[in-house]
């Protein structure tokens, strides 16, 4: 167990050093959430005037979306790094080293969490400067950070699983595309009661809708039914636990496939 923790820590440090050595790979994951937040909040400024919209500030609605996208890509980014390591042969050396297989997944997972926290630390103040207000106070920020960590865990499991199976950059496109689509087919842009047609049906069963509700519960109006409460929290937590478990199992099985 100690060895697993030590190896995970070493893998995590290696992942974090990549940020310093290859900032061009990390910068987009910071810039993209800020761009998403500004662009969406500016373009769709007027949607807050629709009766039943849960907040009167568009930036409140789109700040969690930006962070969710960024967190998803922080997890997927570890999938990209793994593909690069597999292609260069470095991953074979890691697999041959006398260490726990688990650390090959937990190490990148810790890196993805730290990247996700860095993202929150950067984007939340930016959002506040643009006018975002946490109606739920510190608990609201906590809910957003938990959702962000959850999304990065899910995307990491998915990214690693695909990296182990594809073993080349074709996997990177599949990772991005699938995460992008799953996030969009939810309440990414509008609240569930205001969605129409096929998207309403899809978003209702998409677990990401619950995670976004958790992320946004501290930013909506206090009079909104989606405001900070246990009822708006447990669904998101459950969705994170189930999806993270499934994607991490997917990654673990992929690693065994790689060993064979």
């Amino acid at each position: 167990m100690n060895q697993t923790i030590r190896s995970s820590r070493a893998m995590m440090i290696r992942g974090l050093l990549t940020i310093r050595r290859l900032p061009s790979a990390f910068f987009p994951s910071l810039a993209m959430p800020v761009f998403t937040m500004i662009a969406f909040a500016g373009t769709y400024f007027a949607i807050t005037k629709i009766p039943g919209f849960p907040t009167d500030r568009s930036v409140n609605w789109f700040l969690p979306l930006g962070i969710s996208f960024g967190s998803a890509f922080s997890g997927i980014g570890m999938g990209f790094s793994t593909i690069r390591d597999i292609e260069t042969g470095f991953y074979d050396r890691l697999r041959m080293s006398p260490t726990s297989r688990l650390s090959l997944i937990t190490g990148p997972l810790f890196t993805a969490w730290i990247r996700s926290l860095m993202l929150c630390a950067f984007v939340i103040p930016f959002g506040v400067a643009l006018g975002a207000r946490f109606t739920g106070g510190l608990l609201g920020i906590l809910a957003l950070v938990v959702a962000s960590l959850g999304i990065s865990t899910i995307s990491l499991g998915w990214g690693l699983g695909l990296a182990y199976r594809f073993r080349d950059m074709r996997g990177a496109a599949v990772m991005q595309l699938t995460m992008f689509i799953v996030l969009y087919l939810s309440t990414a842009q509008m609240p569930l009661p205001l969605l129409q047609g096929w998207l309403h049906a899809v978003a209702r069963v998409n677990p990401v809708t619950n995670i976004l509700r958790l992320a946004r519960e501290g930013l909506v109006n206090t009079t909104s039914p989606d405001y900070l409460s246990w009822n708006n929290t447990w669904g998101g937590l459950l969705a994170i636990v189930i999806m993270a478990t499934l994607t991490l199992i997917f990654a673990g099985r992929g690693l065994r496939t790689l060993d064979k």
Binding site: F35, A39, G42, T43, Y44, F45, A46, I47, K49, I50, I181, Y184, L185, Q189, M190, L194, L195, Q196, G197, W198, L199, H200
Partner: protein, 274 residues
């Protein structure tokens, strides 16, 4: 150096003009075929705009009653113009990336060493993008039509939008080709792609300008993409008008002339450096 310089100063005769046209057509044919031979490269620029149109129609269906929103049958009808411009903008990067690949793998140098018109190399490459852009516009209009994406200006409006799609592709393709010629790197061309994304988002492509406020509204007011999309949107929502024609054709034409001149300057600079 002398060969390259000589071909730039060759006297143009009717015979050499005809030859230059034939060479340009041959290169246009090559670049067009290249696009269709790599469906995986162009598929995203065909699929994603349709996906976003479908997503927007279901997401923002209830926004059409907002103050400042133009009179529309559906949000899908409102988003046709944005779908066309979005697809064409993204698709036009493919041609420039292919040009950069030609530079990277040495094919561009072989073209330069052959007795070929220099302008033809550039125009031939861009013609492929323009043809693809026009086809994209026609494709988006045809796909969205059965779902309520009717064009009030009828056939003439569709024709203008298709032509506009071709000119936009030519303009953006030329701009991106400047990057390709300057850097000789397909990665640099792909790296410039997010700028198009920013340009598109900071415009009235996805939502009416009348509903925007503050600095965002001011940026959208200055952004030529806003006026281009609004020209096409006028054709979709209100029928044919001279102002719609002007916006849909003249704006991309002006950008096109400027960007082709810029690309040619870059090409001359590259030749001079050889």
């Amino acid at each position: 150096m002398s060969v390259l310089a000589m071909s730039d100063h060759t006297e143009v005769t009717p015979h050499s003009f005809g030859l230059a046209v034939r060479q340009t057509v041959a290169m246009a044919k090559r670049s067009t075929l290249e696009i269709f031979r790599q469906p995986a490269l162009v598929a995203p620029s065909m699929i994603f705009p349709i996906f976003f149109a479908a997503l927007g129609a279901s997401s923002f269906g209830k926004t059409t009653d907002l103050p400042g929103f133009p009179k529309v049958d559906s949000f899908l009808q409102f988003s046709i113009a944005a779908t066309v411009v979005q697809g064409v903008l993204f698709g036009s990067v493919t041609g420039a990336a292919a040009l950069a690949t030609d530079i990277q793998n040495g094919f561009f140098d072989r073209l330069l060493l052959s007795p070929t018109t220099r302008t033809g190399i550039l125009i031939g490459r861009l013609a492929g993008s323009a043809i693809f852009g026009a086809l994209q516009a026609a494709f988006f209009i045809a796909v969205l039509w059965p779902f309520g994406g009717t064009i009030e200006s009828g056939f003439i409006g569709i024709a203008i939008m298709v032509v506009s799609g071709g000119i936009v592709a030519l303009a953006i393709g030329a701009l991106m080709s400047s990057v390709a010629i300057r850097t000789g790197s397909a990665e640099a061309v792909q790296g410039a792609f997010p700028l198009l994304f920013v340009l598109l988002f900071f415009s009235s492509a996805f939502f009416p300008r009348e509903t925007m406020t503050g600095a965002y509204r001011k940026i959208a007011d200055f952004n030529p993409i806003s006026h281009l999309v609004e020209g096409m949107r006028e054709l979709v929502l209100s029928g044919y008008t001279t102002s719609a024609l002007m916006k849909a054709i003249l704006i991309p034409t002006a950008v096109c002339i400027a960007s082709i001149l810029f690309a040619q300057t870059e090409l001359r600079r590259r030749l001079a450096a050889k």
